[in-house]
């Protein structure tokens, strides 16, 4: 078979190119694109490095359907402070006050940006004129809480091409098909505690088609490379179906940060797998359910008996519209990607829980039956939300329609015990539900000076609005930083070592080799066995030993025949690094924690007051170092934000004043 094919791209193995920019952005999803735009708008020379192609890459490459926490839109009845604080309290403080506040405060500005770039955020064709979730003056459309109107339904499939075009317009240089693999960092003395003062001076990477090696030198670097995946879950036959986010988004940004000495928090947090995992689930948003994209679909049981919605007090809701309004005496409710089983204060309308339904005699299987809904709600769920949400336009909306699905005539089956569409074991885990990530300050700068982060690389991230808002903010702050420094020198030995690391698999012996898939399978099994639902010191140390043996004995046997294989190998090496980081983070916390979904059999006490803090870890001289940071380190959100962003506030008032009025 191989004789019929030859590598279709140039062979640039052994070639090195050095590129210099003011601001270097790693990752070209929503966060990376907005980071690049934020920096370029401030006159910086920007280089963006993307492993896929920015036109459709990232988690929202083919769309997203609702934008959370856009608290400054003209119809919003809530303040940024209210919603950011609610998110923080909802997670018992294990949340990201800074980033969520930025999302609440600037998210709508980024949405207006997208509209000005050609993205669609309003019902300009009056398709839903008169609908209860639409504001007929601004033509904005809302989801979840129709009273408070801070989550917007958007046409996200239009966003990535619009962003790609805008990057071009602003003169951002984009390197597609190029993986970023390591940061270039130099040590500039020691701080008062004797810790090394690190400064980012660039990064390195490889063209995944040609094998050319890159050295990127920059004054400031922004990490926007999503979060880790494939740590516990892997399927070698269909690896693309392992996880929810794009197959190649596996946490390389985390791994390179960790190797460089970057600080991380909450990496001990993981949740039992939810969906889109190892092919066991059905396609996301492709089964009967009433969450997220499908909120608040009418659900029925096998007999056609409607499943009741109840409010937070357990009172059955009689009308469809009540599903979209807070309970009596409640100001607003929270719904969305990271809101699972909210506290009473923020709990919105919901169908009775699964166990109660079974106990009360409701019969499986359940279905989503949109035919019983008003035409507005039916059409907005099936056709707009399912259609605009990522991965739904073709594999769900178009294909189901081709198969004859008509929401007026058919109901769609549910699987599993809720909206996950499959059931999972405790040791089958994912970084989901606002997981851990990079520790940062109010500038979204990491402990490595000049290295910033945005989107899913930040700890406790959630949705697309979060990615756009934090990306733009990081870009702006990086531009400011870059304006005050010059290009730093890097150590050529670091580049030599990275080049050797990256290309070693091209020289391995194919006959005695191991594939990236075999190593990924081994890592996933190791993590299920030694870093599963219940953890303890001895178990986790054995896990670290096993991973270490993979590193020393098996990584040298990885073999690649071309740069695509090399990229996959580099990813699995990064998954190995992230797994080690996760075990180390778990070893550091000597208690169990409900909000962190973290159980230790040797330290069963749940959330003791002394341990209610960020246990921030980093690698220092090959050892794991830890420091504690208070959960409320962000301070008073509004005050701290306004102290640092007067320039932006003045600029935004001029730029978006009219848009905010809905003119």
């Amino acid at each position: 078979m191989s004789a019929d094919y030859s590598w279709p791209y140039a062979n640039e193995m052994g070639e090195t190119e050095e590129l210099i920019s003011d601001v270097l952005v790693l990752g070209g999803g929503l966060a990376g694109c907005f980071a690049a735009i934020g920096a370029a708008r401030r006159g910086q020379k920007v280089l963006l490095v993307e492993k896929g192609d920015v036109e459709r890459s990232g988690s929202a490459g083919t769309g997203f359907d609702h934008w959370e926490s856009a608290c400054t839109n003209p119809c919003s009845q809530v303040t940024p402070e209210e919603i950011a604080t609610a998110y923080f309290n909802e997670q018992d403080g294990y949340s990201n006050g800074i980033a969520h506040y930025i999302e609440c405060r600037e998210g709508y500005d980024r949405m207006l940006d997208l509209e000005s770039f050609g993205g669609k955020i309003r019902d300009t064709e009056d398709e839903f004129k008169g609908a209860p979730f639409r504001d007929d003056r601004t033509k904005l459309m809302f989801a979840y809480d129709y009273k408070n109107r801070f989550t917007l339904r958007v046409w996200g499939s239009t966003f990535k091409p619009a962003l790609a075009a805008q990057l071009k317009k602003l003169g951002v240089r984009v390197l597609n098909r190029t993986e970023a693999t390591a940061l270039l960092v130099k040590e500039e003395g020691r701080d008062a505690q004797g810790r090394p003062c690190l400064r980012g001076v660039g990064a390195m990477g490889m063209d995944v088609h040609t094998g050319k090696f890159y050295i990127f030198r920059a004054k400031a670097v922004i990490l926007a490379m999503s979060r880790p995946a494939r740590v516990w879950l892997f399927n070698a036959d269909m690896p693309g179906l392992c996880e929810f986010r794009p197959f190649q988004s596996i946490g390389s940004g985390h791994a390179m940060g960790w190797r460089a000495g970057m600080e991380f928090t909450m990496m001990e947090k993981s949740v039992r797998a939810e969906f889109s995992a190892s092919g066991r689930s059905f396609p996301p948003y492709g089964t009967g359910n009433n969450h997220n994209t499908w909120y608040a679909a009418t659900m029925v049981d096998a007999r056609g008996v409607e499943i009741p919605y109840v409010n937070r007090d357990g009172n059955i809701l009689k009308t469809e519209q009540e599903r979209y309004y807070p309970a009596p005496g409640q100001k607003f409710f929270l719904k969305g990607g990271v809101i699972d089983n909210p506290k009473y204060e923020y709990r919105g309308p919901e169908t009775l829980d699964f166990d109660t339904l079974i106990k009360e005699g409701y019969q499986l299987p359940f279905y989503a039956d949109l035919s019983r809904m008003s035409p507005w709600e039916r059409r907005v769920i099936w056709g707009m939300m399912v259609g605009e949400e990522g991965k739904t336009k073709i594999p769900i909306y178009q294909n189901y329609t081709d198969r004859g699905f008509d929401p007026e005539k058919y109901m769609l089956q549910s699987y599993g015990n809720g909206w996950q569409s499959a059931s999972f074991l405790g040791q089958e885990r994912q970084f989901f539900g606002a997981p851990g990530g990079i520790m940062h300050n109010w500038d979204l700068m990491t402990n490595i000076a000049g290295v910033f982060a945005g989107g899913d690389q930040l700890f406790a991230s959630d949705c697309a609005g979060f990615a756009c808002a934090t990306g733009g903010y990081a870009g702006r702050k990086a531009a400011q930083y870059a304006g005050g420094v010059s290009i730093g020198e890097y150590n050529p030995e670091d580049a030599d070592a990275e080049r050797e690391r990256l290309f070693a698999p091209m020289f391995a012996d194919a006959e005695t080799s191991v594939s990236w898939k075999e190593l990924n399978m081994a890592i996933s099994k190791c993590m299920q066995n030694y870093c599963g639902e219940v953890r303890c010191e001895d178990l986790m140390k054995q896990g670290l030993d096993l991973l270490h043996s993979y590193e020393t004995d098996w990584v040298p046997k990885l073999y690649a025949a071309n740069p695509h294989d090399l990229m996959r190998i580099h990813e699995v090496m990064d998954i190995l690094t992230v797994s080690q980081m996760t075990l180390n983070a778990s070893l550091v916390r000597h208690s169990s924690s409900a909000p962190l979904c973290f159980q230790r059999s040797d330290y069963p006490q749940m959330d003791p007051e002394n341990d209610r803090k960020h246990m921030v870890i980093r690698l220092e001289n090959g050892r794991v170092a830890e420091r504690d940071v208070p959960l409320d380190y962000a301070g008073t959100l509004k005050d701290e934000y306004e102290k640092r962003n007067q320039d932006y506030m003045a600029w935004a008032a001029r730029q978006y004043g009219a848009g905010k009025e809905g003119e």
């Binding site: 078979m1 191989s2 019929d4 094919y5 030859s6 590598w7 279709p8 062979n11 193995m13 052994g14 492993k51 896929g52 192609d53 036109e55 459709r56 890459s57 990232g58 083919t62 098909r177 094998g211 070698a236 036959d237 269909m238 690896p239 693309g240 179906l241 794009p246 197959f247 092919g279 059905f282 396609p283 492709g286 009967g288 029925v300 007999r303 056609g304 409607e306 039956d369 990522g390 991965k391 739904t392 336009k393 073709i394 594999p395 178009q398 294909n399 189901y400 005539k409 058919y410 109901m411 769609l412 089956q413 699987y415 290309f503 091209m506 020289f507 025949a561 071309n562 695509h564 990229m567």
Partner: protein, 95 residues
Amino acid sequence: MKKVEYTVSPVPCSARPIRFDTSLCIGCGRCARVCQCDVLVPPAEKGKGHPPVVMYPGECYYCGACVMVCPVKGAIRLEHPLMNQAKFVPVIPQK
């Protein structure tokens, strides 16, 4: 660093996520260009009727970008594996 010749061959997979209709494909290569998982590889022979090679079908994450960017309706079909075909049934009239 020594240069090594690159080799490639399609990786087997139990599913066929992407199928081309060669009678419709104009060979523009836009699908291969936007695929963020790098599943598709340009064919040896260029032009009309010569779609990319589905080199890494298992790495498809079923986002639909290839179909969305394709200028010819029906030239590419993206479909989840059989196990992922969710069931739908006629609605039961409300009592």
